[in-house]
């Protein structure tokens, strides 16, 4: 059974029909990517899964481990093990880097393990350790992005949702991030991520969904997608 399953899922911002009936599933232990042009509804989809959009705009089913989670508030969904690194970073600007990480582990009680995980994040992003007591709001754009991902990891999610993890990161860090994502996935966390850098996304994930103006137009393994002519032209650039 799929860990996460969307069935005929719609989203409306008032009268704007921004997601138009998509079906999507992520199996346990899998890594899946969702790509698509600007404004095609990727963020909306992720945020709705996490319970962060207005429940009134949602139609259709969202199942997590076969259980309906549609309509649950964000904290409940998080408590079930779905955590998200949000688009646009959303760090807690007046908390320090370390407090941000600790807040990421809000639902956990095991202090010793939490400390260990913080060290882990610092190992992945040494930059953050240098900045551990700086207020997050004063971090550079890229540093904030690292923090946002680190914070999501702190919750030890069953399903990790990442919204444009590479945005604003230097090429070197982008590579590192995706290495990290791979590691995390290998260690047993299921991952669904949205990414503009389609090349690296398709290279990292196993399966991919392509969204266009609110609908899923193609769904295939990444290998096949990379060889798809349309995808090549629009998302991978001519080269």
């Amino acid at each position: 059974m799929a860990l996460l399953q969307l069935v005929d899922f719609h989203y409306y911002y008032g009268n704007i029909h921004s997601v138009k009936g998509i079906d999507l599933h992520v199996d346990e232990g899998e890594m899946v990517t969702l790509i698509g042009a600007n404004g095609s509804g990727k963020t909306t989809t992720l945020q709705t899964i996490s319970g962060l959009t207005r429940a009134r705009g949602v139609r259709g089913k969202i199942l997590f481990k076969g259980q309906e989670i549609q309509g649950k508030t964000g904290d409940k969904v998080a408590a079930m093990g779905i955590l998200q690194a949000l688009e646009g970073r959303h760090v807690f600007s007046k908390l320090t880097v370390e407090e941000n990480l600790k807040t990421g582990a809000y639902l956990r009680k095991d202090m010793a393990k939490i400390r260990e995980d913080i060290r882990d994040v610092y190992r992945r992003f040494p930059r953050l350790e240098e900045r551990r007591s700086q207020l997050a709001g004063t971090l550079s754009g890229g540093e904030q992005q690292m923090l946002a991902i680190g914070r999501a990891l702190m919750g030890r999610p069953k399903l990790l949702l990442l919204d444009e993890p590479s945005m604003g990161l230097a090429p070197l860090i982008v590579k590192e991030i995706f290495v990290a994502i791979n590691d995390i996935n290998r260690e047993g966390t299921t991952i669904l991520f949205v990414e503009q850098n389609s090349k690296i996304a398709l290279a990292t994930a196993k399966r991919g969904y392509v969204m266009q103006t609110g609908s899923i137009v193609i769904h295939d393994t990444c290998e096949n997608l990379m060889n798809n002519e349309d995808i090549k032209r629009i998302y991978l650039g001519a080269s």
Binding site: A78, Q84, H90, S93, L95, G104, Y106
Partner: protein, 291 residues
């Protein structure tokens, strides 16, 4: 005279502090500004009066009941009004205005409920005054200072050192992100409002015996408490205490050595001076993004 003034200033400051703590708490833990604290204090005084004088319950029991009622009231306020507004994504000014409307409701409501005449709140202690350095002070006043000291330390520790406190601050900064970390934002702000209402109620019960209880009891004290909170550093618990005391002393000394005509003026001049010259207050608090 100096000693006398000093002690009255400290006592008055203690009362302002207790109110200031509530304002700072709300600001720090929800990023919102409320104008209702002073009137919740009034409500607390009326509730306390009802339990203590009218129903004849022991003081401690009345205090606990009052604080519980106020806590529930604060929660209800958050759930029924503030949360609804926040969910509609309105400008924060609507929240301010809503709290002002609530303060009208309380002011007029208590008049309807308890009559508009000043109510008598019996003394808590059998002794009507104790001597502090040869100055006689009401024991309730000392209790008030003590209570605000204790609350200050507890709240400061709670907000900066505990998981829940940090979570509350996080929720105030970015509710969406807080939700995504598993924080029940609605619950945490609800508790904040409840707590600060509870604080105000304690203040109300303690000053009832000193000043009598009437509908506008809290409105002036409320504004002064607010000023104290800002002067100390809006959102900082130590700041609230120090700001409140500073204000109390300033008022009393201005009255004593200059003229009572400038008593209230000085409070607002201090406030505006701090806002213009040092908006982060004495304790240099930068609680929430506000720029």
């Amino acid at each position: 005279m100096f000693l006398r003034l000093l002690i009255s200033g400290l006592v008055l400051g203690g009362i302002y502090s207790l109110i200031a703590l509530g304002y700072s708490l709300i600001y720090k833990a929800s990023g919102l500004m409320s104008f209702v604290q002073g009137d919740v204090m009034t409500l607390g005084a009326y509730l306390g009066l009802t339990f203590y004088r009218i129903l004849g319950l022991p003081f401690v029991v009345s205090l606990i009941l009052t604080v519980l009622c106020a806590f529930a009231f604060g929660m209800l306020l958050e759930k029924g009004v503030i949360r609804v507004l926040l969910n509609k994504n309105v400008l924060p000014i609507y929240v301010v205005l809503a709290t002002i409307a609530i303060s009208y409701i309380i002011q007029n409501g208590v008049q309807l409920g308890w009559g508009s005449i000043t109510q008598y709140f019996p003394s808590v202690f059998s002794k009507s005054s104790v001597k502090v350095l040869s100055v006689s002070v009401q024991p309730e006043a000392l209790l008030c200072v003590g209570a605000s000291l204790v609350c200050m330390v507890l709240l400061h520790f709670f907000m900066t050192r505990t998981r829940f406190g940090t979570a509350m601050r996080a929720a105030a900064m970015d509710p969406t992100a807080a939700y995504s970390c598993g924080i029940n934002v609605s619950m945490s702000t609800g508790i904040t409002w409840g707590l600060s209402a509870g604080l105000a109620a304690i203040a109300g019960m303690l000053i009832g015996p000193m000043y009598g209880v009437y509908a506008l009891l809290g409105s002036m004290i409320g504004s002064k408490g607010f000023s104290g909170a800002v002067i100390g550093g809006y959102g900082n618990m130590y700041g609230a205490m120090v700001g409140g005391i500073l204000l109390g002393l300033a008022e009393v000394f201005v009255t004593g050595y200059i003229s009572s005509t400038y008593k209230n003026l000085i409070a607002y001049i201090l406030l505006i001076t701090f806002l213009f010259l040092k908006p982060t207050g004495l304790f240099n608090e930068r609680a929430i993004q506000d720029d």
